[in-house]
Structures are given as C-alpha cells and as structure tokens.
C-alpha cells in the first residue's frame, strides 16, 4: 500500500506560529482561516483534475494495470469483509448456544421451583387440614364446656332443691327426735366396751413388742443382714426339720420379692440427701414403702382402651408347640 500523506503534519511543518498579539501589532485586524479538511478537499480536487486531464493520455497497458490492481484490491477487501462476517456469524452462533444453555438452566430452575411450589402446596394443604382439625377440637371443647356448665347449673339447682327437701325432713325428724335417744345410749355403751377391749389388746401387743425388743437387744450388734445370713447358713447346713426349712424358705422368698420390688422405689426417696451408707436403711425403707400401698388418683379404669380381635388366633402354633413338647418329653 502506498504511504498516505499526512496533511496535518505537512501544514504543521510548513507553517510558523504567530500569536494574535503579533498580528495585531503588524496591523492585521482580520485573518482568513483554512481548516485541515478544507485544505484536504482542495488537494483532492487538484489531484482529480490533474488525473482527469491525464486520463485521456493513459495507455492501454496502464489501464489494464490499474484495472488489475483495482481488482486485486477489491478481492482483497472482499476476502477481509467475508472473513469479518464469518467471524461475526461464528460469534453470534456462540452467543446463541450460550443463550440456549442459559434457557435450559432457567427451565430447570423453573421446574425445581414448580416442584417446590407443589411441595409447599402439599404442606399448606396439610397445615390447613391440621388447622381444621384443631379448630374442630376447639369447637368440641367449647361445646363440651357449655354442656358441662349447663350440667353444673342443673346440678346446682337440684342440690338446692335437695337441700330444701332435707331441711324439711330434718324439721320433721326433730319433732320425733326423742324416740331415738334410747338407741343412741345403747350404741355409746357398745362403743365404750369395744374401745376398752381394743385398748387391752393394744397393751398386750405393746408388751409382746417390748419383749421382742429386749430379746433383740440381748443379741448385741447383730444386724438383720447377719440374721438372714445365719438363717440361710442354717438351711444349707440342713438343721431343723424339713417343714421348718420349707417354711423358712418361703419366708425368705417373700422377703426377697418385697426387697426386689421395694428397693428401687425407696432408694430414690432415701438417697435424696446424698446417698445412704447403711444398706439396712435401704431395706427397711423398701419394706415400709411397699407396705404403704399409696393410691394414685386416676381415671384409667374409667375410660375405654383400644381393643382388637385377631381374626386368626394362635391355636395352630400352640398345638404344634405342645405336640413338640410332648414328643421331646417322651
């Protein structure tokens, strides 16, 4: 390619800078200004005119040369242009692909959100059902409360009526009260006799208890555990009659059962202060605890418990097991 002429550079190198003040001092009050584009246009016009004048004189060979160069230039420009367009197409295709992938990702996200929304909807429906259930429960409770209140009011009325009736009865009975005095005196006498008999029995039991305590005191520091160990040793040694041993065995078994049931429950109560050192305290506390027979308030026996009937029973398994046992035992 030919080197292009730099008009601006040429003007700059062919001219000198004169300040406006200098021009003024020299008497110039007006100057004509030519800008760079105007100079470029003048040059192009001059060259075109010269070429036009010379074109009439251009030879065939030069024309063909010019045409050839122009053609080459055109093809070169065409290839450049086509290349640029191809690059543009490829770039556009890449962008389309990126957009396609982006759309697919968005579709997946939409699907995920849709599923989530469905799940949320399920939860919402469930919560709504639960709310409905609670509402019904509250409704039932409210109506039940009303019913109970009404019943209470009814009972209060009935109690008042009953009270009035009893008062009337009492007044009537007072009228004939004297007749009952004889019976009351008899009952009092019988009661006094029973009390006297009871006190005598109590005194006898106290005496027996004192005797037992005295006997226990004579045995010194022997603990109950030692006593039990002694009894067991006695049993193992075979002393005493068989009947006595059997009786003793039963007693020990009962005692063992009571301890097994009672110790854990009593232990918690006794060890509240930080543990119990004496094991006998555990045992005695357990025995006492078992005998307390604490009754708990409950409505458990008043309400029904879910009960089901098996359509087929265990008879087959039972018969088979019994048959096997019989065969195994024979």
């Amino acid at each position: 390619m030919k080197e292009e002429i730099n008009i601006g550079q040429m003007i700059k190198s062919s001219t000198a800078d004169v300040s406006v003040a200098d021009l003024s001092r020299k008497g110039f009050t007006k100057v004509k200004v030519l800008n760079q584009d105007a100079i470029r246009r003048l040059i192009v016009e001059a060259v075109e005119r010269t070429l036009l004048a010379r074109s009439e004189e251009i030879s065939k060979r030069e024309r063909e040369k010019v045409i050839g160069e122009s053609k080459a230039t055109f093809e070169h420009l065409l290839r450049e242009k086509v290349g640029e367009e191809r690059e543009k197409v490829q770039r556009t295709q890449g962008e389309v692909e990126a957009h396609r992938q982006e759309i697919a990702a968005l579709k997946a996200e939409i699907e995920r959100l849709r599923v989530k929304a469905a799940s949320t909807e399920t939860d919402r429906v469930r919560l709504a059902a639960e709310n409905e259930s609670f509402r019904r429960l509250a409704e039932t409770t409210r109506s039940e409360t009303e019913r109970v209140r009404a019943e209470a009011a009814q009972r209060e009325r009935e109690a008042e009526e009953e009270s009035a009736r009893l008062k009337e009865d009492l007044e009537r009975e007072r009228g004939r009260g004297d007749r009952g005095e004889g019976d009351a005196a008899r009952y009092r006498r019988e009661l006094d006799e029973m009390r006297a008999r009871g006190e005598g029995e109590l005194a006898r039991l106290k005496r027996e208890l004192d005797e037992e305590r005295a006997k226990a005191a004579q045995q010194g520091s022997q603990t109950m555990a030692e006593l039990l160990r002694g009894l067991v040793a006695e049993m193992q040694a075979g002393r005493g009659t068989e009947a006595q041993l059997a009786e003793l065995g039963k007693s020990l078994e009962k005692l063992h059962e009571r301890l097994a049931r009672g110790i854990p429950a009593a232990g918690a109560a006794v060890s509240g202060g930080g543990g119990v050192d004496d094991p006998m305290a555990h045992i005695m506390a357990a025995l006492l605890k078992v005998d307390e027979g604490v009754a708990l308030e409950s409505n458990i026996t008043k309400v029904t418990v879910k009960e089901s009937t098996a359509k087929k029973g265990v008879s087959g398994s039972l018969e088979k097991l019994k048959a096997m046992q019989k065969r195994g035992g024979s």
Binding site: S119, T122, F134, L137, T141, E144, T145, V148, E257, A260, R261, P264, A265, A268, L296, E297, S298, N299, I300, T301, K302, V303, T304, V305, K306, E307, S308, T309, A310, K311, K312, G313, V314, S315, G316, S317, L318, E319, K320, L321, K322, A323, M324, Q325, K326, R327, G328, G329
Partner: protein, 364 residues
C-alpha cells in the same frame, strides 16, 4: 436367657393373624363380661408400645394396645373432667396431671412438646423418675386382675445388648414385681424368642426371629423352638425419630407422627420422607452388620441342615418397603447362615404379645 422347652416335632399349618381394627369397649378387667377366656396371658413390654394378648374359649385372640408414653399438664378440675369426658386417661402424681397412652402422643404433637417415656432403649428409663408408677398403672389397665390367683403371664424382655454396656436384670425384676403384685405368676420370655413362637410354627420353630422395636432390635436364632442364640442391638425406631428430628429441626414426637402416617421407603415424596428413608437404611445396615458379626463370633451357633427364614416383627418393621430395603442391604452382606426367605410377620405389632401368649397357654 430363656430356654423354653426342648422339643422336636412335625409340621403344622401356619397360623396367620389378621387384626380387625374395630374398637371394642373394654371392661375394667380388660375382657367382655360374658366371654370366657383361657387361663394365660401374653404381654409385650415394648419401649414404644405395651400390648397384652388373651385367648377366649373359641380360640379368638384379643389384643389391647397402649402407647408407652405420657405427658404432664397443668392440673385443675376443669381439665380433669374434660379428660374423662373425652376418654383420655390420666394419673395425678405429685400434684401434676399426667396424661398417658395415645392421647399423650397426640397432645405432644399439638403442643409441640416431647412425650415422656417410661422406657428407653428397651429397658426402664433411668432418667424418668415417674416411670414405675406410670408403668404399674398402664399394666394394671391392660391386664386387669387375673382370672385366678397365680394365672401365668409371660412378659417380654430384651436380650442382652451386644453394642451397649447394660444388662436387663433390674428391668426384668421391676416388671416381674409389678405383675406379681397384680396377682399373676410372672415369667419372662426374650422378645426374639416370642417372635419365633408366633411366626415360625410352619418351620418347626426353626429360624431367625427379629423384633424390630422402638428401642432395640432383638434377635433370636432358634432350632426346634430352642433358642440357640439371643441378643439385641440398641438402636430402633426411636433412634430414627431422634435423628430425623435433629436434621429437620422438629420434635421427635413429630418425627414419629410423620413416620407413622404412611411412608414408603422405596418412594419418599418429600424432604422429611427422604430423611426417614436415609436413617431407616442406616439402621437396617447397622443391625445386620452387628447380627452378622455376632453370628460369626458365636461358639454355640447351630449349623442348620437347610436354609432358614428370617422373620421381622415389631412396629419399626411396619413401614412400607421395609422388607425390600432389608433384602437390599442383606444382599450386600455375606451372611454366615443360609437364608431361604426374609419376610415380615403377618401382624408385626402384636407378634411378640402373641408369642408370649403361646408360651403361657402351653403351660396350662
């Protein structure tokens, strides 16, 4: 633990059980006034549920079921009256009103609270100070008085655990004491053995019974009704509930309710059900690996001449897809015993109570 009988014998038709869920009013003694019942009771003392079984003269088995849970609420006369009218059981203990059974579970869910549990991991809960009086009342209500002083009542106990350091002696003694106090001749039977009695008659009581409970998995390998090996692993349905509750940020009682409302492990429908499925699979994996390990280390393991059945019972086995997941996990483990079938008990929740009933009736 228990060595019940020493027997051999022929085959017998399988005794399947289907339960009619229709409620029936119960008398205070726990039985119809005019119905004549056989002597002998079965009692499943489970961490999550208590179930009693009794058989009438015609061979029908009656089951009473009670959730082994309670919750305490404020006490006042109004609440007391309302609870009785609404057929809700309560006990007053130390000036607190304690609602027991299924109602406790429902109230816990409504009030977003946890139920209190008399039992934990298969035995009496050491941390629950009100456990014993509550258990006594629940059992009294389930069993009633014996028909005759000294009537035999077999109750279930867990076998010794292989993955925890505790024994069942105290637990066993406590329930023996309660039943004796009620007038029964109390005898115990390990849970897995009870499953063998109720579910493996067709196989001459030979095979593996697993009770998948709330607190534990109880396993019994039996040959001709004799237990060759019994043990337990200390994870069950409660372990699932606790973990699901943790990951979802909800109460364990709520997790139980979700679990019981009809989940299928093969097709979880949401995040909650997915959590349940994950922990179920993990629980089954844990149990099977422990069972395998115990079998491989056992000296007294019988070598069965033919392949045997594994029967799963208990409330934890009732969820949809349980057996399929169990089979799936089982296939990945080289099990030391040849297994023919893995199946669920026909009536999983009542299987242990019925097994105890079979043991009790066989003594009369």
């Amino acid at each position: 633990m228990d060595t019940y009988g020493k027997v051999t014998g022929p085959d017998a038709p399988r005794e399947g059980v289907q339960v009619d869920t229709a409620d029936r009013p119960a008398t205070a003694a726990g039985q119809g006034a005019t119905t004549k019942f056989e002597l002998g009771r079965g009692l499943d003392v489970g961490t999550a549920n208590l179930a009693s079984a009794i058989q009438d003269a015609e061979g029908n088995v009656t089951i009473k079921l009670q959730r082994n849970a309670f919750i305490d609420i404020e006490m006042d006369d109004y609440t007391r009256n309302m609870l009785t009218r609404l057929n809700v059981q309560y006990v007053v203990l130390d000036n607190r009103m304690i609602v027991v059974g299924d109602a406790a579970f429902e109230l816990a869910n409504i009030f977003n609270r946890e139920t209190r549990r008399p039992m934990k991991a298969g035995v009496v809960s050491p941390g629950e100070k009100d456990a014993l009086p509550i258990e006594r009342m629940l059992l009294e209500n389930l069993l009633g008085k014996p028909q005759k002083e000294g009537e035999v009542c077999y109750f279930s106990v867990p076998a010794e655990p292989i993955d925890s350091d505790f024994n069942v002696i105290y637990h066993q003694g406590v329930f023996e004491g309660i039943l004796k106090k009620l007038g029964y001749h109390a005898k115990f039977l390990v849970e897995g053995h009870a499953v063998v009695f109720s579910e493996l008659a067709e196989d001459d009581f030979t095979g593996i019974g697993i009770s998948c409970g709330g607190g534990m998995f109880n396993v019994c390998v039996a040959y001709k009704s004799i237990p060759a090996l019994s043990f337990s692993t200390s994870r069950g349905g409660d372990w699932i509930d606790r973990n699901v509750a943790n990951v979802l940020g909800i109460k364990a009682s709520r997790a139980t309710a979700i679990k019981e409302r009809g989940v299928n492990l093969l097709s979880p429908r949401n995040r909650e059900e997915e959590a349940i499925e994950i922990y179920y699979r993990n629980l089954i994996q844990y149990a099977l690996e422990n069972i395998k390990s115990r079998f491989e280390s056992a000296d007294g393991m019988p070598s069965f001449p033919t392949a045997v059945d594994i029967v799963c019972a208990g409330g934890t086995s009732m969820i949809g897809g349980f057996v399929e997941v169990f089979q799936d996990v089982f296939e990945d483990i080289k099990f030391p015993i040849q297994v023919k079938n893995i199946r669920r008990a026909e009536d999983p929740l009542y299987s242990v109570a019925k097994g105890c009933l079979v043991a009790a009736l066989s003594e009369t």
